[in-house]
Symmetry: C2
Subunit: 407 residues, 2 copies
């Protein structure tokens, strides 16, 4: 896997793999000048995999994509930003179908090969006409170098477009995976829609691709999110077109392993970009929980720490208030033994056997709190399972952008 | 129940009932001039009831109070602010015992009649000597008008002392309940220690008092808190001395009902004072969830809405972003039927059958969002159970005080 190549092709994102074109334009949902409509198209249809929100209130595009995904074949993905088309009822679903149908017609393909996505304000009627009116121009602008403008067009409160591109030799050919994503000032999908779109020229069956995508998402996007705690629109799609001409990737083979690792790295690059990019984010902190009886218990403890407003404001204030971390561990709902807990910050011990190690240790970890990125590690001393989660601080800007998101 | 009396005696708080004295002084834990040590004493020992944190990481004073509570008799409560005496191990527990022992000795009573409380920074060694040194002066200052200074001495980030006093004719006598509490800028006990101390001159058995207190706390403090989601120190104690000379209150009687209602009103007065007082709090919002299959499911939905940072920042920004409420309902973990959900703000319908009612409705609820206090009501349409929760907005000041709590 050559990271050099990855870097050099980074900006291309979804158009890095062979046979993909993309574009992003302004169709009139956002303020004039802001890109708000993105399109990604493969030269030929291919296997597509998807992972969606666990939220029971589901946006229209998610309902439609889930239906189309049953066929396992895709060719194009059309995404608008500025309007989530959620809580819009039957009218919203009809609007979603109209856009997908118009896209399929444009590409002279079956409806089920057209996928769509929306992100933005909930409960507003989707301005379908503006999208349909802009579709011809959008298709005209499709280009093998259009990855970046597509990544820009799916942004909401994001400060920077997020894209990735990685390559590796797999099954006798150079396989490329490209991707783009949008998050927001906040890290947790439950706090803002997270969209991720991956493209690859790998030859792989749709079922195998689905298995690989689930594994990759669990080790990336779900490590910066609260499991089962997602927005109405969260979506990750991966479209493959086989143009790399590698021997078809099959589950349980070395090729599958290499492909899934590459896909995981691409997803993790995008997931961490979402963390770092957030407006208001001044720190990205990795929460490591070890010594748990089960992975789920380790995740639960990590989640409780990583979502504590007191912990997150302490990060922002660079206040080495480790007691807030201990309190979070104690209220996580996971049975713990306080006298077994150890706590360290970038390897500097602060708590041993549940007891604080004093002001000298506190002064040492205070220096860690001043770093832009650091790791909080909790040892539960109850088992051999662990989990990790990336979180951010809670800052003034977090409040500012979310207090006035729609204005 | 005469509210006039309640108001007029309000400032006295814990010293409003017959036979209670209190005081608050500076013993040297906080910065000079700030009260940090409070004492409440009954002229004679009496039944005491208590409710404590569910956190598995428990502060030393909670461990000690739980032991002493087994005897069901109390006479004095000594509380320090500025230091939580949590995560301090065996040394912390020894320190707690020393302060309780010194208090018992001063009052010439048995150890188990002495209760203590601590609130402040976690993991710092309790400066016992300063507390012991100040005890004689504290006892000297005990006064039937000392309720307010005691209420001041238990404050941490609180802006105002919180006390209450209510009276009612119960079982042939005028019974008074007094109380004081401390919260913080945040509403949820999981985010900061919440202490509540109630006093009454009612004649009541300790077991009956315990039953009444649990009922009162569930309908008050636990309605502004995340159940099972508390700090290392949370404590609510209620001490009774029988000096009102009412016929002893027995469970299942009209007298018990009147007493429990009075106690509930006192607790709710203190709980809402904690909400309103919070530094950084500009709004107090009541979350009502109805039409649930069970009370627990109603609570779960209310909690998810009331703890959502996106919902709370929208309150602060007076942004009628009702979609965030819908998203919270959908990710609460409670099985719901989106098409059955109704959402209203101070009675103004915004969502019906899961669908937004449009911009006109949004303009109407936008006016509600500008109010200092309002109610968000969610109808799940699945059953007859409901729950309510009071929450606050998430403001710049919330971040400010918590980013620099210890400095």
């Amino acid at each position: 896997m050559s990271t050099e190549t990855a870097k050099s092709k980074h900006s291309q994102g979804v158009t890095a793999p062979k046979g993909f074109r993309a574009a992003g334009i302004h169709c009139g949902i956002k303020k004039p000048g802001l890109l708000d409509l993105a399109l990604v198209v493969s030269d030929r249809p291919g296997p597509i995999a998807g992972v969606f929100t666990n939220n029971q209130v589901v946006a229209a595009p998610v309902v439609l994509d889930r239906q189309h995904l049953r066929n396992g074949v895709g060719r194009a993905i059309l995404i608008n930003s500025g309007n989530a088309n959620a809580c819009t009822g039957p009218a919203g679903l009809a609007a979603a179908r109209r856009t997908a149908a118009a896209l399929a017609k444009r590409l002279n393909g079956p409806l089920h090969e057209a996928f769509i996505g929306s992100t933005g304000v909930i409960g507003r009627r989707l301005p379908v006409e503006r999208i349909l009116r802009s579709l011809p121009e959008l298709v005209r602008q499709l280009s093998p170098r259009g990855g970046l403008s597509a990544a820009k067009a799916i942004m909401t409160t994001d400060l920077r477009p997020k894209s990735a591109a990685l390559r590796a030799d797999i099954n006798g050919a150079v396989v490329t995976i490209g991707g783009m994503a949008k998050g927001s000032g906040m890290i947790h999908p439950n706090m803002a829609t997270m969209l991720g779109y991956l493209t690859t020229d790998a030859a792989i069956a749709s079922r195998t691709l689905q298995t690989a995508l689930i594994e990759a998402v669990n080790a990336s996007f779900n490590c910066i999110s609260v499991d089962g705690d997602t927005s109405t629109n969260d979506t990750v799609l991966c479209l493959a077109n086989g143009l790399a001409d590698n021997r078809v990737i099959r589950e349980g083979t070395a090729g599958y392993r290499r492909f899934t690792d590459l896909l995981t790295e691409a997803c993790r690059t995008l997931a961490l970009a979402i963390c770092r990019d957030g407006e208001g984010v001044t720190k990205v902190v990795k929460i490591e929980v070890a010594g748990a009886r089960t992975v789920e218990e380790a995740r639960q403890v990590a989640r409780t720490i990583g979502t504590s407003n007191l912990v997150k404001t302490a990060f922002f204030g660079e206040d080495a208030n480790w007691g807030r971390v201990m309190a979070a561990v104690g209220r996580s709902g996971v049975p713990i033994v306080p006298s077994k807990i150890a706590l360290s910050f970038d390897g500097i011990a602060m708590v041993s056997k549940g007891v604080g190690l004093g002001l000298a240790a506190e002064r040492r970890i205070a220096r860690v709190f001043r770093r832009k990125e650091f790791t909080v590690r909790v040892e539960l001393g109850q088992g051999r399972h662990e989990a990790q989660l990336w979180t951010t601080d809670l800052s003034f800007d977090y409040v500012r952008i979310n207090a006035s998101y729609r204005s």
